[in-house]
């Protein structure tokens, strides 16, 4: 397992409530959604800034 993998799999425990959380990753499909939404945001803002668009 690479350092990157072991970091994303590392688990933090909150003793009080007994909650554990993985450091985790952003899944690839979700990163693609972020990228598509960002491109759409720039395009829509420029094209529809005024009603002359």
């Amino acid at each position: 397992m690479s350092d990157k993998d072991s970091h994303s799999e590392s688990i933090t425990r909150y003793e009080g409530p007994g909650i554990e959380e993985r450091h985790g990753i952003v899944p690839t499909w979700l990163a693609i959604v972020y990228a598509v939404m960002f491109v759409w945001m720039v395009w829509y803002t420029i094209v529809f800034w005024t009603d002359k668009g």
Partner: protein, 485 residues
């Protein structure tokens, strides 16, 4: 376990006021259970008012001859009742449980808790009576008159101080995502409530007032209901799944994306209005960009449950969290896309919008708060859930009733919008909606029966649930593991 804490388990919340520091516990069991009972009451009361309001669409004269039971008086009671009565009371009670446990110290100024409880609940009761009597500030979701707004604002400020003070005094170094959401929610809401109740009704006339009202109402949804509900759900999610949270990184992205995009959403209710075009465009873009935090949260929730689906069968908090996440995904996607100009043209002034608001406020956040109530109540009472069957009925009547209602409102909204776009007469479009309204009322009544059963069950759990034996030598903060919750 201390003697006083044992007494709490044996006698339930009827035990005289017990402050956390007096028992060596982190939290005040009696106070939290009292909040759960009050939230249960409001969560039956407000939706029942909603059912009466819904029936008036089909039966115009139903209770119409009594002024305080007319549609215009009851509708704000329903909206304010669900938002501030049911949801917020549950969240405040759960805050008194969650924040000390995550911080490792008792709530800051914990003696304020009981004063806040009475100020909040008496304030709400006076507020609903005032609304029924016709005293209304005229700001949607901010309709309480001044004599109610002032104590509510004081309560919000006191709660904000308590949460911030507890976070400052914490012994746990890391801040779990729930603390970010709850802290932000209280700060934002103390400011937004003052804006909506003390500034907006008395300044900014005309279209500016409408624009700012759009901001206020969406800050109630996006900067109170959403972060407070997410904070509660994130706390109980890994506990109910009995697994680690899927991704800390995703929880960071979700929080900051919400904090960045939500403040710009407000004016999306005023597309095609005299508000500047670029302002409308920013609101549309911000609404669509909310897809990022919503999908991020949903990915994190379902990622956590992968491999733990058995919990869905065995645990009522898990059931409510999972179904709430599904409604969150559907409702928020609907909300984002309905901001688009083409969708606004079709859906504005139709029940599509009402379907969306119910999917998010009730379907998601009230249901997540309910999950928290199912987790906390038996543990703090030290008793088994009174009736598993009742809880099952609560869950399934809610799911079936609510799914029908949300689908019905969405379809009727699209249908009415299509009729109006095709040039149909407005009155004809209203007449065509009658069967849908009737189905909506029946679905709402189904949900109400479920809620009444569920919250009666929680009350009976506190009063008469089977006591869970406390192991000898258990620590002061010991919490039992009841079945089914």
């Amino acid at each position: 376990m201390s003697t006083t804490a044992n007494a709490m388990f044996e006698h339930g919340p009827a035990t005289p006021r017990v402050y956390a520091t007096a028992t060596g516990e982190l939290f005040d069991r009696a106070l939290i259970l009292r909040y759960m009972a009050a939230a249960s009451f409001w969560l039956v009361f407000a939706p029942t008012v909603g059912a009466i309001v819904a029936l008036k669409f089909n039966y115009y004269d139903f209770l119409g001859h009594i002024s305080w039971l007319t549609w215009g008086r009851l509708r704000p009671v329903h909206v304010m009742g669900v938002v501030f009565g049911g949801f917020s009371t549950a969240v405040i009670g759960l805050t008194y449980y969650i924040v000390p446990r995550l911080c490792g110290v008792p709530m800051y100024k914990e003696r304020w808790g009981h004063h806040i409880f009475w100020m909040w609940n008496v304030g709400l009761a006076v507020g609903f009576i005032s609304l029924a009597l016709g005293y209304n500030s005229g700001i949607e979701a901010g309709e309480f008159p001044l004599w109610v707004s002032i104590p509510v604002e004081i309560v919000l400020c006191m709660l904000t101080i308590q949460v911030l003070g507890t976070v400052k005094n914490r012994t746990e170094q890391r801040l779990y995502v729930t603390l970010w959401y709850l802290t932000a929610a209280y700060i934002w809401t103390a400011l937004n409530y003052a804006f909506g109740h003390f500034i907006l009704p008395y300044s900014m006339p005309g279209v500016n007032n409408a624009a700012m009202h759009g901001l206020y109402i969406h800050y109630v949804v996006g900067l109170w209901i959403t972060p407070a509900g997410l904070g509660v759900a994130y706390y109980f999610l890994p506990l109910a799944a009995k697994r680690p949270l899927y991704s800390h990184k995703l929880s960071l992205v979700g929080f900051w994306a919400l904090a960045f995009f939500y403040p710009f959403v407000g004016t999306h209710h005023y597309i095609y209005s005299p508000i500047p075009y670029w302002t409308q465009t920013i609101a549309i873009v911000a609404s669509m960009m909310l897809i990022i935090p919503v999908w991020t949260v949903v990915a994190n929730f379902y990622g956590t449950f992968v491999g733990a689906w058995k919990q869905f069968q065995d645990s009522f908090p898990a059931k409510f969290i999972i179904i709430g996440a599904l409604y969150y995904f559907i409702g928020c996607f609907q909300g984002s896309t309905e901001a688009l100009r083409e969708m606004q043209r079709l859906t504005h002034f139709t029940d599509f919008v009402i379907g969306h608001s119910h999917l998010t406020v009730f379907g998601t956040f009230v249901i997540w708060a309910t999950a928290g109530m199912y987790w906390v109540t038996p543990r703090l009472a030290g008793r088994e859930l009174y009736s598993k069957n009742c809880a099952q009925w609560h869950y399934w009547l809610t799911v079936v009733g609510f799914s029908i209602m949300a689908f019905d409102l969405t379809i009727q909204g699209l249908m009415q919008g299509t009729m109006l776009q095709a040039g149909a007469d407005f009155v004809d479009s209203m007449s065509a909606m009658k069967p849908y309204w009737f189905v909506r009322s029946l679905a709402g009544i189904t949900m109400d029966i479920g809620a009444a059963l569920g919250f009666w069950n929680l009350y009976m759990t506190i009063k008469h649930g089977k006591l869970i034996p406390v192991p000898p030598g258990a620590p002061a903060n010991y919490l039992p593991e009841p079945k089914w919750s």
